[in-house]
């Protein structure tokens, strides 16, 4: 898969271990929300999780047998469970549903201890092009 500007900005690394995809965000200063306690910004954590959900669908599209040429976020719900420290952030994704037109993916993110997640999120995607062409 191509490394995109966003994946570079997130410092996103995907590793495949025994059929499972592990995702990692490598933090930088631009990921910090509260500089006093050097906590990661909630929106950055959310962006990482949403991107993880999207990549999980792209990686598994052949196995699923769906065309994922469009994986367009419809909505995104995130619960923040613990403060995210200035440390690498891990994530796993589980595909809850893939149909002809939509997909739903659950993502959990954690730091030191997977049993104590930092955030959990549900992302819904449209698999069809629902937008008119946009001129720059």
């Amino acid at each position: 898969m191509e490394v995109t500007a966003l994946d570079k900005w997130l410092g996103l690394i995907v590793s495949q271990v025994q059929g499972k995809n592990d995702y990692l965000l490598k933090p930088t200063e631009q990921h910090i929300g509260n500089p006093v306690i050097r906590a990661l910004h909630g929106g950055v954590v959310a962006t990482f999780m949403e991107r993880v959900a999207q990549i999980e669908l792209l990686i598994r599209q052949d196995a699923i047998g769906n065309d994922m040429s469009v994986v367009d976020p419809i909505n995104f719900n995130v619960d923040y469970l613990l403060p995210a420290e200035y440390k690498p952030l891990n994530a796993n994704a589980v595909i809850s549903k893939t149909g002809r037109r939509i997909a739903i993916v659950e993502v959990i993110a954690w730091q030191a201890d997977k049993s104590r997640p930092v955030a959990k999120a549900t992302c819904s995607f449209s698999l069809t092009d629902r937008h008119a062409p946009i001129s720059k």
Partner: protein, 161 residues
Amino acid sequence: MMDKSKQKADFPEPLQAVESFSFDSHPLFKLLDLKVKDMSSEKVSVCATLAEDFEFEENSSLLHTGVFTIILDSVFGFAVLSKLKNLQSIATINLKTEYIVPASSGAQVFCEASCYAICGDIAHVRGEIYDSSKEHVLATATAAFMIGTRGPGLIMQNRGK
């Protein structure tokens, strides 16, 4: 309806603190070129210029919708702070975002948010992101925040130091 000027006098400290916060000193806010356009306890309006760092497809200037979530979470925080009587630390409990139209890099967008209710130590916020003409809604969101979390808040660093 309360008189707006009276309300502002009632809640001066957090409002002033957000208004005087140096966005250029914050690497993420600087990247998004966040600028407060209007701010009261009723509504916060912020403009942002979308950086190409959020492009996520080859040969396309379309941006990942995550950039909207980053802006919404930030501006929602300002909306909560502007409603408080005293500066306190806050934290997002959860955030629900609806993505309607994506944007391209370089686009200017406006985010408007209001903290429409505070019940105990929970603040409820809603808001939208509009395109530069303010005619088209690009994303909407609702969120809940916890008021009075442990540790110093973001805005507090510029105060009393």
